[in-house]
């Protein structure tokens, strides 16, 4: 199924949004986890990302960027908001009606345990991420998309809506700053 077909299906029947979840939730969740390094914050941000995607999907018109890029764009904005207003961060889980809160919390608990174990197995990554998080957000997003997500220049430009020259200069300066931070450890 193409992006356009999926979008049309969702626009006609909002319940089909679960298809989009199946396709991209894990990927976006992984991206956010590799930006924040924290399961609870990741779960909140990922939920907010998909909630916003769902509420705005009727306004999304297929103009050159794919649904995946669009989701990455929303997720990036959400992560940036999180870094800017962390103290004000509130959980979507407390505000939406879950069919069975106990089962959901149990699933969330199991997912947390699994991913915390996964994070522990990647000590080097966690240490680099901690250094990266001390840099301004504009460097964090380009470095994360290029080196953690393995995105090509074209895709990063689309996600961040910036020019190629800007991306190159942000990457170059960001890498230099990150290397200094890593060397200090």
């Amino acid at each position: 199924m193409t992006d356009i077909e999926l979008l049309n299906r969702i626009k006609n029947n909002p319940a089909d949004f679960s298809e989009l979840f199946k396709l991209y939730y894990k990927q976006i969740f992984g991206y956010i986890l590799r930006r924040t390094g924290d399961f609870d914050d990741t779960a909140d941000i990922a939920a907010n990302t998909f909630f916003k995607a769902f509420t705005h999907i009727k306004n999304f018109s297929y103009k050159g960027i794919s649904v995946k890029v669009w989701l990455y764009r929303i997720a990036t904005n959400e992560v940036n908001l999180y870094f800017r207003y962390k103290h004000k961060h509130s959980s979507l889980f407390e505000r939406i009606d879950l069919a069975d809160k106990n089962i959901f919390n149990q699933y969330l608990y199991e997912d947390r345990k699994e991913l915390e174990k996964e994070l522990q197995q990647h000590e080097q990554f966690v240490s680099v991420l901690e250094s990266l998080k001390t840099l301004p957000v504009k460097y964090q997003e380009v470095i994360s998309l290029r080196y953690f997500e393995g995105k090509e220049t074209k895709e990063i430009i689309e996600i961040l809506n910036i020019r190629e020259g800007t991306l190159k200069s942000l990457l170059s300066r960001g890498l230099e700053k990150l290397r200094e931070k890593c060397n200090q450890i």
Binding site: A15, F17, S18, T55, K88, F104, D111, L119, H122
Partner: protein
């Protein structure tokens, strides 16, 4: 710098294999949307009233917005109160509550983005206030 880039590219990164909470969350988000949306059709009520009275004041000689309302009030007092007071007040309350709920549902978001999201609700509130003002003038 090249070696640092290689180190970043090649180091192992945490991967997601399975997320158990995924399906329940998808369902909850879909339900949250269903309950939070006030249909554009609600706008039809105040718009219909305004359009009807404006048309009447334009096409029927010696009538105005106020005289049309007074005429209706005289003929069908209860209907006038229902249409020009109860319905607008109810619409204002429902939409204020919806905006409040959406505000809590959205959490941190830019003011402009939030205003765009609740534009329909704001329009209904403004139109309802206009009807109330015209009625009590």
């Amino acid at each position: 710098m090249k070696s640092f880039e290689e180190k970043l590219t090649n180091m192992s990164k945490p991967e997601i294999s399975q997320l158990k909470h995924q399906d329940m969350l998808a369902k909850a988000i879909t339900n949250a949307k269903d309950k939070s949306v006030v249909s554009l059709w609600w706008l039809g009520i105040p718009l219909y009233l305004i359009a009807a009275f404006v048309m009447k004041s334009i096409y029927i000689p010696q009538t105005s917005w106020n005289s049309s309302i007074r005429e209706l009030t005289g003929k069908q007092g209860y209907m006038a109160i229902l249409v020009f007071v109860v319905v607008p007040v109810l619409l204002i309350i429902i939409n204020l509550l919806t905006i409040r709920r959406l505000f809590f549902l959205y959490g941190n978001t830019k003011v402009t983005v939030f205003i765009k999201t609740v534009l329909v609700q704001i329009l209904i509130i403004v139109l309802s206030f206009l009807i109330l003002i015209f009625y009590f003038l």
